[in-house]
Symmetry: C2
Subunit: 365 residues, 2 copies
């Protein structure tokens, strides 16, 4: 194999596929990037068996071939090369020779045949959204997946296509995040559970531009994202997702509208008085005169007043402040509406247009 690239093109392709290189693995071949120029284009692939990424890179093929190269080392070397033409070739002993200006690296490669290719995916069922939209809905929901694997379903997000609308849901037993996006075309209904890790990694690769599209293909076991010169394939999580609709309700006894940033700042100050170990709730007291945010811990106390617009009953309710912070941080509206029934029932933060619903369970006080 003998190839040449512009350093910048090679480096950005490596950075993309690196997202699928596992940080710890017992299979050394998975720590590699496959560089495949056996046909008429050059493809880089990484694959941790759950998540696989393949991207094309512009370059010249002087001699066909393929080789697997240690991903971390390859990435570091290319990053440090001068901004110039990079030549990569292999010898009969599977050495990889990297030339750039007056630098000559020689490192050991592995046979390309040992590498696991991405699974073949039927491209029948799909939707199209902008890179911006996909990146945003991931950011706005990913924080409320469960961190531990006790309940596998909770480590993923529901992607549901219904009536030409994409609904993305995550929940961890204490809260639910829902985002709805109107699609621009007519698509078949779909319902899959995508691993959280896949979504985290893909959102790092997405450029976030509104003019660039992502095609999302669905099969019964896999989801495939296609954008720019890149394909991301992930296994799905098997099983039946939670019936979220039955946990939602439009009834309320108290409704408030308030300035989001002011509320968020106030809670961020309150958490300064909580150490990891003690689970002090933040206490919110709503009366006709306004809202009081208060916390009292071993470290000290804080009490603040916030201006609100209130409808309905007075209420005193306690929350894990982290859950409020997580939700408020990803809402871009200047004013948010909170709906409550009583101090034991879930609180909803939702907009009037059905773009988002954040359900948060209160804490006993």
């Amino acid at each position: 194999m003998k190839l040449s690239f512009e350093k910048s093109a090679l480096l950005s392709a490596i950075s993309i596929v690196m997202k699928a290189v596992p940080s710890r693995t017992t299979m050394p071949i998975l720590e590699c990037i496959l560089m495949d120029a056996s046909e008429d284009e050059i493809k880089l692939t990484a694959n941790d068996m759950e998540l696989g990424i393949e991207t094309k890179v512009a370059g010249n093929i002087l001699e066909h071939g393929k080789i697997a190269i240690d991903a971390k080392l390859f990435s570091e070397i290319v990053r440090k090369l001068p901004d110039s033409q990079v030549w990569i070739e292999t010898d009969d002993s599977l050495n990889v020779i990297i030339n750039c200006e007056k630098s000559n690296f020689k490192i050991a490669g592995k046979p390309g045949d040992e590498f696991s290719y991405l699974p073949y995916i039927e491209r029948d069922h799909y939707i199209s959204v902008s890179q911006f939209t996909l990146k945003e809905i991931i950011r706005q929901t990913i924080f409320s997946i469960a961190a531990n694997e006790n309940n596998k379903l909770m480590t993923g997000e529901l992607f549901e296509v219904k009536d030409d609308c994409l609904k993305v849901v995550s929940l961890d037993g204490h809260r639910i995040s829902i985002r709805n996006v109107q699609l621009k075309d007519h698509y078949e209904d779909e319902k899959v559970i995508v691993p959280g890790k896949t979504l985290t990694e893909i959102s790092k690769i997405l450029s976030g531009e509104t003019e660039k599209e992502v095609l999302i293909y669905f099969t019964s076991n896999h989801i495939l994202f296609e954008f720019d010169d890149t394909v991301v394939v992930s296994r799905l999580i098997e099983g039946q997702y939670f019936n979220v609709n039955q946990m939602l309700s439009n009834d309320y006894e108290t409704k408030l509208s308030l300035n989001k940033q002011e509320f968020l700042n106030s809670i961020e100050r309150a958490v300064l008085l909580i150490r990891e170990s003690d689970k002090k709730p933040i206490i919110i007291t709503i009366t006709d005169n306004g809202m009081e945010v208060a916390i009292r811990s071993a470290i000290g106390s804080l009490q603040e007043e916030i201006m609100i617009h209130k409808e309905g009953k007075d209420i005193t309710i306690g929350f894990n402040p982290k859950f409020l912070i997580d939700a408020l941080r990803v809402i871009d509206d200047e004013t948010v509406d909170l709906y409550m029934v009583n101090s034991k029932a879930p609180c909803f933060i939702r907009d009037g247009e059905g773009r988002y619903i954040y359900l948060i369970l209160p804490v006993n006080i």
Copy 2:
């Protein structure tokens, strides 16, 4: 005590004294900042018994007094307050009440009397340099102090005033860094060893402006830095510093001039092939045709050519690449000169004007 401040002024004063708050200590009072308004100005002080920092902060004194406040918590709280007027008062139970707009914090304080004041320093012997100069000479030498305490003298830097010139020296047994600065006035000779930690912390506080001066006062046990509204006092390291002059020499068999950045880039690529555990040297071969930089490790090999201007003999010499990188990174000249005698004698990187000398011992190859 009852005081008021602009949040920004209070926050920057806290950030300055925080540099003397120890991260681990068995004496809880040392984790505090002393806020002292017992006289007609407000001073913040932190003191880890080796290094103490005191700074004045602009504010109104409504009621005199002093209190010690947990430094980390206080800093976090003030950082999160709105950009507005901050009121701080104490009650009879040593509580600290922090008010800002509609936020009311209450945290526990400690009696100000428990706090150790900075030692009294005679201000007789001093020099004056710009903040820029002091910050630069620290950056350009601090990397070659010894990290471990086996030889206490090596954990500090020599500050020597002689013939109206300030010489700063650090060494760790493998290399020596020397910077010379011509002073603008006539001063008495001085010779002290300043702890590396003091210099690291002070360089974080210095603004680095060329127009602002630092007064450096010397006593037999302490050094005091005075700049802006801040005073930094540090114990000195006791003992007789190494006789560095006898380790220096102007003799050489080979002299090269080369582009600093090109050489540095080349060595930074070479270290990619070294893992922490194996101590592979970088091999430099100098002939009339130029310089070859080469490294060979379990990971792979690199070989590069660099253009040089050479005088004297051919030579092959090995170095710990880290030592070359550290020295080259802090030299701002475009071209550097290297002087060598043979493959076992120290290599010198020095300029023609005597501003800097970096001595690096070679490695056996």
